[in-house]
Amino acid sequence: MADPEIKSYEPYHESRSAAVTESRPAQAVLMAIAFAFLGIFLLLPLIIVFHEALAKGVGAYTQALGEPDARSAIRLTLLVAAISVPLNVVFGISAAWAIAKFEFKGKAFLTTLIDLPFSVSPVISGLVYVLLFGAQGLLGEWLKGHGIQILFAVPGIVLATVFVTFPFVARELIPLMQEQGNGDEEAALSLGANGWQTFWYVTLPNVKWGLLYGVLLCNARAMGEFGAVSVVSGHIRGLTNTMPLHVEILYNEYNAVGAFAVASLLAGLALVTLVLKTLLEMRYGAELAATRGH
């Protein structure tokens, strides 16, 4: 027993028995269908985006991106993401903590509520804010009286984006925290740590990969959101147009190079997210396996 024994946690590979394996032709057909489907519906459009963006050369591409309205749209999108992602990180961690670590009345209700943005059309999410903050809305008069502009301005766009993206971090963390249980936190408390130290030194490091994964997805959605933002933005060029909205405007003006140039940035963001997500899954998968073996 004194020998230092190192346990490695090899990912567990399930062996396939011959009985449940399809014949070779059947396998080939299934794979062909999957690849053809992905090729036609996902890969081809992506290639077309970049092809159209560069159709008139690199010069036209950079010019389209350098145009003031496009730059303003990019700035606004970054700003909205920079506000809504941290907000949702705070919300996501609080909600996951509450749901995973203690029992309270209305827990099931809260869990269901977190999923609401996934089940509601983004347009509705936007409309809700119009009804709330619009000129004829519930708070419209009051806001107008105090000179606060929410609708057709940056605050409205941020609110709509927060609404649409809030499940991402919470949903990533809840199952992870539930699985890890309270043991580590109890240990930290018994050693004299206060609540904040326990969170900072124990809970957060235990969920960091899951959190990063959630942030990544949240960010991708925050930058790419169209429906909800479209309803509340007012489409004021150079002021309240985010990148997805700008793409639509340019496209409707038959400015294909401009539209696809901005779209290529969003597509690029999607690709970067995908690569990071895959890397995280590799890393995070190992972490989860270690958690189970622990």
């Binding site: 027993m1 230092p4 024994e5 109890e186 408390l189 018994s190 050693l191 004299g192 622990h294």
Partner: protein
């Protein structure tokens, strides 16, 4: 540090997990809470630690009422069944954690924390593994790190929740002896929870047998084993056999004949006779004994366990015989229990 549990009741969502439990733990004592799952032993331990608050009753550390103190204020070392090591910290950081999170002047400098952690690692015989992560340790090593971590804060009381429950039999036995040595060397008041009676009887100064949220008996291994005070303890600790009997005129009767045991103080009527299968006296003739037909005979380690069918009601009891005893070959065996006890019929 003495710990006194006074009339503690604990309910979870109206469901009582502990009914009015009282227990005195002496300073420097190694005491085991033993019972089947659901007996409330872990709840009692967590109440002492401050991980749970009692519904009623009080818990004293020395003369101080600790009932309303938080777990941080109680300064207890708690060791969890599944170790609960911080998986992203090295062994030495795990052990030093309790010192690192202290505030103000009570927090030793980083160098001192490291030195203390290394010392404790020596004590648990794991020096050289400072830089390892928990995932790189075996189960036994992890539990020793967990114990070192709990001892680093110089706790008033050491509490262990099924500390060896997740380990295999060989490692359990080694760690058991090792824990006893550590206890004798450091002198911490130690309470541990286990469902393994061998562990409890071998390791603890005193054993607290629990069942269904109540303490059944508290005593040394000898007390518990030799003079169980309830049918539950008889059945739960070691092997036991039970027979329905009748008391008449201060004598014990099995069906229609006396078995040669006197019970002058027992109230007349139905009762249940308990005895240990190995604690029997074999007899040749039978005038005043228990006699039965051998129904089955099994070799168990160093003895032969014989199942006897007794009388017309075909009640079965087990007794243990030496392996080479001639009685094991016979079809009828007569015996009389050596040490026995009567309990009212269930």
């Amino acid at each position: 540090m003495e710990v006194r549990v006074a009339n503690v009741r604990k309910e979870f969502e109206r469901f009582p997990a502990l009914h009015d439990v009282s227990l005195d733990i002496k300073s420097g004592e190694l005491i085991a809470l033993l019972g089947p799952s659901g007996s409330g032993k872990t709840t009692l331990l967590r109440l002492i630690a401050g991980l749970e608050r009692p519904t009623r009753g009080k818990i004293f550390f020395g003369d101080e009422d600790a009932s309303q103190k938080s777990i941080q204020e109680r300064n207890v070392g708690f060791v969890f069944q599944h170790y609960a090591l911080f998986r992203h910290m090295t062994v030495v950081d795990n052990i030093g954690f309790g010192l690192k999170v202290r505030h103000g002047p009570s927090r030793p400098p980083a160098q001192e924390i490291r030195r203390r952690a290394s010392e404790l690692l020596d004590l648990v015989q794991l020096s050289g593994l400072e830089k390892r992560y928990p995932a790189q340790l075996s189960g036994g090593q992890r539990q020793r790190v967990a114990l070192a971590r709990a001892m680093a804060i110089e706790p008033k009381v050491l509490l262990l929740d099924e500390p060896f429950g997740a380990l295999d039999a060989q490692v359990r036995r080694e760690l058991r002896r090792w824990l006893r040595e550590i206890h004798d060397a450091t002198g911490h008041t130690t309470v541990f929870v286990t469902h393994d009676q061998e562990e409890a009887l071998e390791l603890a100064d005193r054993v607290v047998v629990m069942s269904q949220g109540r303490i059944e008996q508290v005593g040394t291994a000898d007390d518990i084993y030799d003079t169980p005070n309830s049918p539950f303890v008889y059945g739960f600790i070691g092997e036991s056999s039970a027979l329905p009997v009748k008391i008449e005129n201060g004598e014990i009767w099995l069906a229609d004949r006396p078995i040669g045991l006197q019970a002058p103080h027992a109230p007349p009527g139905d009762a249940t006779l308990y005895f240990r299968p190995h604690d029997v006296e074999l007899l040749d003739g039978c005038s005043g004994c228990i006699a039965g037909t051998v129904a089955a005979s099994r070799r168990v380690a160093g003895t032969r366990r014989v199942e006897l069918e007794i009388g017309g009601e075909r009640k079965r009891v087990e007794i243990e015989l030496p392996v080479d005893h001639p009685a094991a070959q016979k079809s009828r065996v007569a015996f009389r229990p050596g040490r026995w006890k009567l309990f009212p019929a269930a």
